[in-house]
């Protein structure tokens, strides 16, 4: 959890693009450590992306999403200065949050 969430939000005309990187091990629960012991599942189960405080994308994740999930999204009808926020929830109850503003790209 040490690395911060990275958000890149750019807008051209009224078309927006958001790329978000969520630093997280996304342990599947299928892996064994050096001693042969199963590594418990530890993964993000849900994400919510909001624009100006209104949720517009909700995601449900399974263990097959790669470590350090990287997602790209597209929006129609946004403008520079609009706020994009992403919140996530993990299977162990942990959570993360970050926000950024759309910038002309």
């Amino acid at each position: 959890m040490s690395d911060p969430i990275k958000i890149r939000a750019t807008v051209k005309g009224s078309d927006g693009e958001v790329r978000v990187l969520l630093p997280h091990p996304m342990e599947s629960g299928q892996r064994r450590d050096g001693a042969g012991l199963a590594v418990p599942a530890h993964f993000i189960t849900s994400v919510t992306l909001s624009i100006n405080g209104r949720p517009v994308i909700e995601g449900g994740l399974g263990t097959a999403v790669s470590a350090n999930p990287l997602f790209g999204f597209q929006f129609a009808g946004v403008k520079a200065g609009d706020k994009v926020a992403i919140a996530w929830l993990g299977n162990k109850g942990q959570r993360g949050y970050a926000e950024a503003l759309f910038a002309a790209g």
Binding site: S28, V56, I57, E58, G62, T63, S66, A67
Partner: protein, 155 residues
Amino acid sequence: MGSRRHFLQAFGSAGVLAGLVGSGLLRPGQALAVDFNRAAFDARSATDALRLIGAAGAEASTDIILKAPEIAENGAAVPIEVISNIPGTTRLSVLVDKNPFPLALQFNFAPPAAPRFQARLKMGESSRLRIVASAGGRHYTVFREIKVTVGGCGQ
């Protein structure tokens, strides 16, 4: 939170949540309760997962664009892009048939978000990659066979 709610109902409750945020009962940054059937993510076969997401009868569609490598060198991170050109698409679901838990990912979309995304998936072995687009209570699907050179199951 454990109950299944529909996305639009979740949107309806957003105002209530906003009120809670305003009252200080909820801090910004707390994730909203997201409406997905977690049992579907625990399903061990694609057939069961499709049934649990209500898409067992999904019909094939050429209006879903799936971009994925034909041969994935690294099964730990297979990049995919999905674009639905089906009007009114509100949900996209991704399944990897041969993974231990085939349902990998689901996204709900509401304007101004377009029903499309890019993501990276783990694939334990060569498998069918299956997308389901849900629009107006109907389900549409497209699939592709992906060859995986080095499996990402232990990742």
